[in-house]
């Protein structure tokens, strides 16, 4: 097995003949924070949807720990240890915060098929364990006070935290964050940055799409830049930041001022 936990090899995804992702390749190392940037509509979210099984690419390979996972259904991808958040928050809005986070414990729960109808001692033990874990996560993400509040009633920043807590509850090996800082204020973004570092310290590999350049440059260890579905640059943040191709993609070739 290679040192890369996730390898994307020459992936192409088309929608009705339009190319959304074009011959894209990247390699993510275990334990890394991997940044993906690019203008709107570049195909970043489509890439995440391909990795998590929502879309199946027409060509190429997606290797998870060396094994092909292209075309695997989303729930099996989650069982493999790849969990995600969504660009447009997708919480179970009417359900309480605790119940939302509990959904992350679904794949870790050991309840047997008959436990939906018949409780057994093992079921009670398992149920308690999973709720305990939810309690820990609510504390980690500072959500305990909202335990019984419907997730949809809370502010945007809090909802983003719930979504991360929910994904983390499944004890992922790879956490995929789709614009985690979108809609957050400066203070919340700073908190998020700290949280992502803490998650990395737990040994979780992180892939992240983000438009907040300051944040993505400070967090990422490696960055791929996508435009029109294709990779236009990759490397360390310091390299990508000054790559003329990237600057052109973001600002346009006619612009004089290259720095933000």
């Amino acid at each position: 097995m290679s040192e890369y936990i996730l390898e994307i090899k020459n992936v192409t995804k088309m929608f009705h003949g339009l190319v959304a992702i074009n011959d894209l390749s990247m390699k993510v190392k275990k334990g890394q924070i991997y940044g993906i940037i690019g203008p709107n509509g570049a195909g970043k979210t489509t890439l995440f949807n391909c990795i998590t099984g929502i879309y199946t690419p027409e060509m190429g390979q997606i290797l998870w720990k060396g094994k092909e996972i292209k075309g695997t259904t989303p729930y099996k991808i989650a069982e493999l240890g790849i969990l995600r958040t969504f660009q447009t928050i997708r919480l179970f809005a009417e359900m309480s915060v605790a119940e939302n986070i509990m959904s992350g414990r679904h794949i870790k729960s050991k309840q047997k098929w008959y436990n939906g109808v018949i409780p057994t001692p093992a079921y009670f033990k398992d149920e308690k364990e999973q709720w305990m874990k939810v309690g820990e996560l609510m504390e980690f993400f500072n959500l305990s006070q909202y335990a019984t509040t419907p997730a949809g009633d809370l502010s945007y920043g809090v909802q983003r935290r719930i979504e991360m807590a929910r994904a983390l509850a499944a004890e992922p090996e790879l956490l995929i964050l789709d614009e985690p800082a979108a809609g957050l204020n400066e203070h919340e973004t700073q908190e998020l940055t700290d949280t992502i570092r803490k998650i990395q310290a737990m040994g979780v590999t992180i892939m992240m799409i983000e438009h907040d350049m300051e944040m993505v440059m400070s967090l990422s260890e490696y960055i791929t830049v996508i435009n029109f579905g294709a990779k236009i640059s990759e490397g360390l943040p310091s390299f990508v930041q000054d790559d003329p191709v990237v600057v052109e993609a973001y600002i346009g070739s006619d612009e004089e001022d290259e720095h933000e």
């Binding site: 729930y75 309480s96 119940e99 959904s103 409780p119 939810v134």
Partner: protein, 316 residues
């Protein structure tokens, strides 16, 4: 200290426990049917209210249970008790076989498919397939429950058997709601993509809901056939399915008190207004229209946040 809901539940339990001693036989029969229909409504609620599957053929599973008991008893001379397990298992098996190929369909398409199943079921019954179903007239002369030479023949026994069945149903609903299975159904219902991304197999849990729902409906059907000692096709047609569907929406999807209220309004109230003949169905229709306008989530909507107390310590 008890909360308001448990108080109401306790009072209702006491009233329904002594109900047979205070009413005449007509009202006793209505009470029994109310209990049986509540079980069916709850089983519909597992599929519709929890898993969010627009299933409008539930009378078929109810009928399968009823006909299983009727056929085993009248055509094959087996005791009622021997038919109880098959009356649960056959609907479950049929649910598995029929729902499998349609479970991936989106809401409205699935609804049409389930109505189709219900219509075919009625056709099978009316055409007296294999000479077992008795055709349009159905099957008469179903026995009473006998155990060790004792006959549970009176309507009061019938009432308490239905009472116990409802108790078992409520126990199952409660267990389901507090297990990963019930929660998975809610996650699918609220956001299918998010649920899948958390590792929930949409297909598995929708089928699970169908199979459990069919089993409970089958048990209720068996009870129903013994109560009236007869079964006939029109009791299990699409109109009946629409009623079970409506009970859940009017009462409140996934809400235990809501479904009981729904059953009461849709079934007992029309009985109260029986003297007004067919005009009583005005109640039925008006309840549906008014509830959907005024309380789209049902008369007693479900409340989430049913979590262990130790997680509530920081809640202000």
């Amino acid at each position: 200290m008890m909360n308001k809901t448990s108080m109401i539940a306790l009072v209702l339990l006491l009233i329904s426990g002594v109900y047979p001693f205070f009413v005449d036989s007509a009202w006793l029969a209505i009470g029994t049917t109310f209990l049986v229909f509540s079980c069916v409504a709850f089983s519909q609620d597992i599929i519709l209210g929890r898993a969010g599957v627009f299933h409008m053929g539930h009378a078929m599973f109810f009928g399968l249970g009823a006909y299983t008991t009727a056929i085993m008893n009248v055509q094959f001379g087996l005791p009622i008790l021997a038919s109880w397990a098959p009356a649960v298992l056959i609907p479950m098996f049929v649910a598995f076989v029929l729902a499998g190929p349609i479970i991936h369909l989106r809401g409205d398409y699935l609804l049409v498919a389930t109505i189709g199943f219900n219509i075919i079921f009625i056709q099978v019954l009316e055409n007296d397939v294999f000479g077992l179903t008795g055709g349009p007239n159905g099957i008469f002369g179903i026995d009473v429950v006998r155990l060790f030479g004792f006959e549970f023949a009176s309507q009061t026994y019938m009432y308490y058997m239905a009472f116990i069945l409802l108790g078992i149903t409520l126990f199952i609903m409660r267990t389901l709601d507090r297990s990963k299975f019930g929660r998975a159904m809610f996650y699918i219902n609220k956001d299918e993509i998010a649920a899948q991304s958390m590792g929930v197999s949409v297909r598995y849990y929708k089928l699970y809901a169908f199979i459990i729902g069919a089993g409970i409906a089958g048990a209720a059907g068996s009870m129903f056939s013994v109560q009236y000692s007869a079964v006939s096709p029109e009791a299990f047609d699409v109109t009946q399915s629409i009623m079970f569907f409506t009970i859940v929406l009017v009462g409140g999807s996934a809400s235990l008190p809501g479904v009981l209220i729904g059953t009461f309004i849709m079934f007992v109230l029309p009985e109260v207004f029986r003297e007004f003949e067919t005009a009583r169905y005005l109640v039925f229709g008006l309840a549906m229209i008014l509830t959907m306008i005024l309380r789209p989530r049902g008369i007693w909507p479900v409340r989430f946040g049913n979590i262990p107390n130790f997680l509530k310590k920081d809640v202000k």
